[in-house]
């Protein structure tokens, strides 16, 4: 129940509750959330249950961008969760963001991706931007008036970011950008894009710079919406910069700081991807258990068969382990932002691999019904796959962890 209604004594009624709230069903541990954190969960949970769950199948089918839901999330103040109060935000960190994202992802990973992408687009400004830049952009992003997007990937630069071809050339008090960014989440829907471009190829890792590009800048356009396997309601397009001319004050931080900003951004945002796996895994577990209790074969609900109940138990174990890990990692990232790389890779890898496995198992528990689009689990399985791929494939994450291990044990 809402912890903060301390003075409400719905005693008689609470007593009769047979289980917790839906989002607590199947959960195991108390994470000792503060009153404010409970409120975040509660606000996001209502949006999930009352808006996202009823619409997700339709959104998946039509690939419509969930503008109405995202506006409701903005109205509920969720877009400002991780933005400091001086810029109109709530002043939370990666952990608070994770609490909200978990609930949203329980409803639909596509909606959660569209929501999280604005945070990813805003992080470069937050970690490296000047005071003026923060004042200019963050209040609108916090209010959800304008969505943000992060533009890193190119056709030749995926896991290997050094392959970036987009260039920025100084021209008086302007920069001129040329290049095409690929698979940019929120492209076409966002107003504010944080874009990395090569400013001096000779300087290698220090030769890239991040810029803010607005959708109204001359030379900015987007490509057609990509047809995806999962998270189909989120918008994924090319961002095309053709002699795109922007003022000099759009440089995020300093020239040459681009790759560092990208790394810091991803370190902060990875727990946010990890938690999508937790929310999605929980949703798959919820569906599988509900179905297994209801479905009767050989005269008994199938949950009474050990083959099924052990699968469900394994799913529950995995989901809770991932949740505990991601919560701990997000708290670590907030406390030690300079030592975030390994924990954020660890949690992203574990939680998203978990989501893939658990959603596949959920489809199995539902059998033929699970394979049908009428039930939500096949979508969950399709949605899970991207989590192992985007914001650094799980193979790249293991590289990072391996390299860290190598370093740590050399000392």
């Amino acid at each position: 129940m809402d912890g903060f209604f301390a003075d409400s004594s719905l005693l008689g009624i609470n007593k009769k509750l047979s289980g917790g709230e839906p989002h607590r069903k199947g959960g195991v541990l108390d994470y000792f959330l503060t009153e404010e954190q409970e409120m975040i969960v509660d606000v996001a949970r209502r949006i999930c249950d009352e808006m996202i769950v009823p619409q997700r199948a339709h959104l998946d089918e039509t690939e419509e961008y969930p503008r109405e839901i995202l506006n409701a999330m903005a109205q509920a103040d969720l877009y400002g969760l991780y933005i400091p109060e001086e810029y109109g935000g709530f002043g939370g960190g990666a952990f608070e963001m994770a609490l909200a994202l978990e609930q949203v992802a329980r409803g639909c990973t596509g909606v959660a991706t569209a929501f999280a992408a604005s945070g990813l687009g805003a992080y470069p400004i937050l970690v490296s931007g000047s005071e003026e830049m923060k004042e200019k952009y963050l209040p609108d992003i916090a209010a959800g008036k304008r969505f943000a997007a992060f533009a890193l990937t190119e056709s030749g630069a995926g896991s290997d970011a050094s392959g970036i071809q987009t260039t920025a050339v100084q021209d008086g008090d302007h920069w001129v950008l040329n290049g095409t960014k690929q698979w940019i989440t929120n492209a076409g829907e966002a107003g504010i894009y944080t874009v990395i471009a090569i400013t001096d190829r000779k300087r290698g890792a220090r030769g890239a710079t991040m810029f803010v590009v607005e959708d109204t800048d001359p030379g900015f356009s987007v490509g057609p919406k990509e047809k995806k396997m999962g998270i189909r309601c989120s918008s994924t397009r090319e961002v095309i910069l053709k002699d795109c001319r922007i003022p000099a004050d759009r440089v995020i931080g300093r020239q040459g700081l681009g790759f560092i900003t990208v790394m810091k951004t991803l370190d902060l945002s990875r727990p946010g991807i990890a938690i999508l796996g937790v929310g999605l895994g929980q949703a798959a577990l919820d569906e599988a258990v509900r179905y297994a209790k209801q479905r009767v074969q050989f005269g008994k609900p199938i949950i009474s068969f050990q083959a099924v109940s052990h699968m469900l138990a394994d799913m529950a174990i995995q989901v809770e382990a991932a949740r505990a890990l991601v919560y701990a990692a997000a708290r670590h990232v907030d406390a030690h932002p300079d030592k975030a790389s390994k924990p954020s890779s660890v949690c992203k890898t574990f939680a998203t691999d978990m989501a893939m496995k658990v959603t596949v198992d959920a489809v199995q528990v539902l059998g033929g019904y699970g394979f049908m689009r009428e039930y939500p689990v096949e979508k969950m399985m399709r949605d899970a796959k991207i989590l192992q791929i985007y914001e650094g494939t799980n193979q790249i994450q293991r590289n990072v962890i391996g390299q860290e291990l190598n370093k740590e044990y050399t000392k």
Binding site: L11, G12, I13, K15, K16, A57, Q294, E374, Y375
Partner: protein, 405 residues
Amino acid sequence: MLKIDAEACIGCGLCEDACTFAAIRVEDGLAVVGDNCTLCGACVEVCEEGALSIPRQEGEAPADLSSWSGVWVYAEYRRGRLAPVALELLGAGRRLADKRSVEVAAVLLGSGLQAADEGGLEAAARELIAHGADRVYLADDSGLADFSDDAYGNILAELVRQYRPEIVLAGATAIGRSFIPRVATMLAAGLTADCTELDVRAEDGALLQTRPAFGGNIMATIVCPRTRPQMATVRPMVMKPLARDESRKGEIVRIEPAAAWLSSRTKVLESVTAALDQVNLAEADIVVAGGRGLENAEGFAMIRQLADTLGGAMAASRAAVDSGWIPYPHQVGQTGKTVAPKVYIACGISGAIQHLVGMQSAETIIAINRDPEAPIFNVATYGIVGDVFEVVPKLIEQLQRRSDS
């Protein structure tokens, strides 16, 4: 306040189960009532030990109750037509009046300019007499052409004050539910909404008004012991009209409404007739749904007709929607809407689990299906095993005949 007799209470917990508000619970073998008790009396009814009671403070009935006499029916008239419920109420009113040995009167408000070629209000008044009214109070004024809570309410309240009927009935229609509560408040009279049963208590002649509450999970019988008139709105299609009898005699009393009665603080600017959104499933009290058994889109014409007859909305199973017989907004079930109407009539729907999750909270489920083994019968309150193409048209005919006769 609810009284609990600690000596008699055995802590069985029946009261706890009966309470819709979770306001009573058993602690240490004794029932304890909480602050949120609404004194609905559900627990008193189930207690087998007689340990619970709600002391009534009815007191002495005011002496002048007996000076109120007669049963009145508000005869709704709109766009030149009597509402069918007016005749149904006369049927019910007649039975009550006969038990009380009093007269039945109807109150008819409107403007004769409407439907003048069909005899206007005069013809409607005669129709009321033919259906059981001994007297019709008729106010015919151009100021009553549009329904107005103020004008209609003022006139009805004034007439009641003047003629003092003991009972006033009105249809629980949009109009009745809008202005009758105002009239009751003006008269400081008790009003019971949406009654499904009316009777007279033998010992004192009080009107027993029975209505469903809490989404139909409980029925409550209500009386007005201290005030007159006893007022009730009644759901359309519940009461039976009397057979039309042209030979019945009755008096038409013309009322000249005073200008003050006709004044209204609201004004109708435009009155639009439109078929109500049949897709608004969520709010419908009655839902008629069709499935694969209807065989084609034409089958749904029959479903619509049944829905219209009952004043309900039309729904469909996924199979029917996928076949393109009816658009998606009508779909009920796992991937469609979830509905909880008072009545859900499933025609030619087998009752796959995906469909059941969307409608099993309906109060009453009626299944019509050829296959006696169809799972829909497991959740049905009433079932007919038979061909929908035979059963449904006959049902429509029966219902229409009942409401016409």
